[in-house]
Symmetry: C3
């Protein structure tokens, strides 16, 4: 007889939980927008918001067109590498799974738009707007194929036993690896390293802080909602996920603020704290309800440390990532995926880990191995697919802005917005040497 | 025996859904505030926020005083045009419907404050603050009477079979028609059309984008919550409503960004994209869970096109609507109401359409006719009642600001807030010719 | 046999309600951040955001370390003054109360971080950043001990019959009293009263308004979620709490705007309106579902009046509270606690008031007496413990910034952020006389 796939096996209560969580997860787009527009220089603050809007519009549209089907399609040609089917999803009135399918789609859509929006920050201030729109349109595939590996019933990582509750891997590591690749391919902003690797001043630091806040509270629903329901024992783990998410961020904030005090002679750098906390949240995401409180603190603390230490490292490599997405989402994404292999409880009676536990919980090396493999596969895919994608796009529309447009700022050249605060005449006179 | 009215026929689960949705819908006020204060010039950005605050305070207070009773009152004098009763709503402890009544009131309150706040944007930068406060106090009736037509058990449109799930008509079309009327009555801002009909620069474009984001996610709860519960089959349609709302906005964002590229020689105007997306959301609202995915895309796309095309049209007519509320809420509100008559499914087993379907679904002309009639009645009411209201208010307090106050900006003249960025001395010296 | 303590007696539905409410309550941190960074001068706007971030990180971490255990610990040494036990809370997989305990902890955590963040505004613009971090670490105890008095099963005020649903007392009065004490101990900002007691200009008034909005909608979940579930008759009172919260704010906004018009010759001061509304929300919080609609209006109106009248009073006393937290949370907190003794219904069948009613509802003087006692105890504790705490911290790190750092602003001296809008050279030249 017909078996309802796990993705659609939702009770009424589960659906409500999934829908409410999705509504809150979408607010994270506001957070990304605030954070990114606060981090870039004023002459590009509107352009980066427009890129975020386009990300949702084109990313969402393509997710419906082909993305969801690449992750969760149930067609006959689905294989361990890619799902095929359920494109243009549209269950009609009378479909007995209509409610479940739409709830599942909305939830996955909120994840997909989050992942694809991560990259916009890393490409900020020098990526051509039209090339970015094209990138947005196609980037969905970069996320959706590996999301299927981990979460799809067909996925080879899933079937090997990989565990990733809320997406340290598919959402953040993919987003972070793509950030790294795209920042490297675009090259640094003009004059970025003229005076060393110290970060450039933020255009609007208050908005950046506000973005952190909005992301933080959205993350609660992101992780807690990833129990994907409240029936059975799921609600107990939903509560645990929320608390452990906060614990991770406490550990992360604590360590990154100490680090920043130490590094900058008693002055706290705000990007250290912001990205340290975000990095700890990324780190806790994969196993959010599999950890005990102390472990969550440690995982968050280590994650934030990895984040603030690698940010200047990437700059030293000449990879100019204006918002630090490569560290926050990439490095901490790797750590988050691997941490499951070390610390995970077996969340009885849930089947999340298929009965396995992490190395430190007496589960042996298997889970750690498969988690490490996952991290490796996802990082490789994220980097390689982004490079290929941008290579192709670059043939159609050059991905790098014209130097004089970059100096003037995309707000002026793409949206005819003139900022009075920035010395535009100085920018124009600086064009001579180029 | 006593029959519980539909408005109060809520289970515990329904009430939770309605309450949670209401909480999220109220966040749309933050979105409107950000959008409007971002759109006006800097010298009026605080004043427009104050108007939004007053809207909630006075609009909410009057909704309790008389508004709710005009929409849903169950007194003996209720008639097809206006409900009468249930003023000063206050079920005591022991009333067996206490929970349901308060939940219903909160939900309707969140709708009412949304509708009345729409107008503030259209009147921005030149409406006297005290006159606006008086307007806020009385404007509630402008919304509540036609809301009763469509949603009240007494309402003539409701009894004719008009369908409007989340308020393209009562909330948006009324708000948009009132916007058009009030913008026309106030006349354009001083110097608005001195250099043609091109929009004036936004005071804070990043905040305007942020406002779009906050409204977008709030809209999910607005439309999804409008199943008014999750019991029975309602939850399935709640999920469908949320997905179709997103689909509509994808269609709208896609088309309005293409349009903007084409119109402005490859430069994207941010108000085109912001208002295009908002217009598509307005368009999908009336039938949010009655459409299939492709239809939602098309309805959103057409709505956004109507919006971006009519914005300069109104300017050409000399109707100066600083935020474009007439197009976003008015024009798209009409389209949203009529689209139900074309595309609506009969959402078995719900009674939403009373068993009817739209023209393209084989339901014949009846639903289209009644939807067109609804749009016509609501547009006429919105325009006429607003004109009458402002005419009366203008006799008490002149609705238009003094020219020199308008030049100085309401932040300075009404709230003693001095902005350093704006050339106030220039504004003062410009006073001579007036 | 074992009896589940009330704190953990949660059904699945209750837990969902508590979790969803918590998610929304955390968004109030965004509101506090916006409000406070909008109120201070531009040279300190980032520093105050950093203090808010640190508040959550250290406040949350210490809440887990020792705070929760001081409020709700169930150890053998718990006594009417302080609970002891349940430190480092961490129920393992298999604990049959795991879900309930984590849900309770998250909910209480959202309350604790709200209370401790209130003080940051009162100490703004002159408190040394490192001293503040230390304060943040220890401040948790200031809140947690009296929270236990009112809400813990061991608490003496609880056992005497004190009623405080959502924390006018423990959250707001404690926060407000601590604000008053810390503002007094720090002394006024340099030059604050050089030109009288008129408030200094806000650095970003639009953000301050936005903060009001975010707090307002968060407050709905704060008060409504404080039914602590929806099972039994709780959901009915959850709906009532939300409506009465809005009613209170309508009364408050109405009265404070009238007062502000009158006081400032027809010009509305935005801090009057913002703080008036916040004060009314604080006032309604303790008895949010115990009042009838008219009473809620009156309680909110009186609260807002008390707030706007005492703000200049504190300035006249030389207590410089940049955001008015002493009035909003302190004065209105007292009024909110006492109002329960006057107006409270007995919310049959809930046990909230232990069967008692307020004076005006025929309940006699007992409840009023105990509420007055509560207000007195909480105010004394808030003031005394904060003074002691700051006295000790001052011995370790001077709590007051250096005068030249204060003039330059903490954004520059603590975070190396240079604001172009502010005349820094003027500030530096002003250093000579000091």
């Amino acid at each position: 007889s017909y078996v309802i796939p796990g993705l659609y096996d939702l009770s009424v209560e589960d659906t409500n939980w999934v829908l409410t969580s999705s509504f809150i997860i979408f607010t994270m787009q506001t957070g990304f927008g605030m954070l990114e527009s606060g981090c870039v220089s004023i002459k590009n603050e509107v352009n980066i918001m427009m890129k975020n809007v386009i990300d949702i519009v084109l990313g969402g549209f393509t997710y419906w067109l082909f993305g969801y089907g690449m992750s969760f399609g149930r067609g006959p040609f689905s294989n361990p590498f890619i799902a095929i089917g359920d494109f243009l999803l549209d269950p009609p009135v009378g479909d007995e799974l209509m409610g479940q399918i739409f709830a599942a789609f909305l939830f996955q859509l909120s994840f997909a738009t989050t992942s694809t929006t991560i990259v916009s920050g890393a490409m900020a201030e020098r990526c051509n707007f039209k090339a970015y729109c094209l990138f947005s349109f196609l980037n969905t595939a970069v996320y959706c194929i590996p999301a299927g590996w981990v979460w799809g019933e067909h996925g080879f990582l899933n079937n090997l036993g990989a565990v990733d509750i809320a997406g340290s891997g598919p959402v953040h590591l993919i987003g972070g690896a793509a950030s790294f690749a795209s920042a490297a391919m675009l090259g640094p902003r003009l004059g970025r390293y003229a005076e060393g690797i110290d970060p450039l001043p933020l255009g609007n630091p208050v908005n950046a802080c506000m973005g952190l806040f909005v992301l933080w509270w959205g993350w609660l629903a992101f992780n807690s909602g990833s129990t994907y329901g409240v029936s059975g024992a799921k609600w107990q783990y939903a509560a645990r996920a929320a608390v452990m998410t906060m614990m991770g961020s406490f550990g992360g904030g604590f360590v990154s603020s100490l680090y920043s005090f130490w590094r900058h002679d008693g002055r706290m750098d705000i990007m250290d704290l912001i990205n340290g906390i975000l990095g700890s949240l990324v780190s806790i995401t994969a196993g959010c309800f599999l950890y005990r409180a102390w472990e969550a603190l440690i995982i968050g603390a280590l994650g934030s440390l990895l984040c603030v230490v690698t940010m200047p490292l990437f700059d030293r490599m000449g990879v100019d990532d204006p918002v630090g997405a490569s560290s926050v989402h990439g490095v901490c994404g790797i750590w988050g995926v691997i941490a499951v292999g070390l610390f995970a409880d077996n969340p009885i009676p849930l089947d999340t880990t298929k009965g396995r536990s992490g190395l430190f919980k007496g589960g042996g090396w298997y889970l750690l191995g498969i988690q490490t493999l996952s991290a490796f596969c996802l990082a490789c895919w994220g980097i390689c697919s982004t490079i290929m994608l941008l290579y192709v796009i670059n043939k159609i529309i050059p991905i790098r802005m014209d130097p004089h447009e970059e100096l003037l700022g995309a707000d002026l050249t793409e949206h005819r917005i003139r900022h009075s605060q920035i010395g535009l005449s100085r920018a124009i006179s600086a064009l001579a040497p180029i």
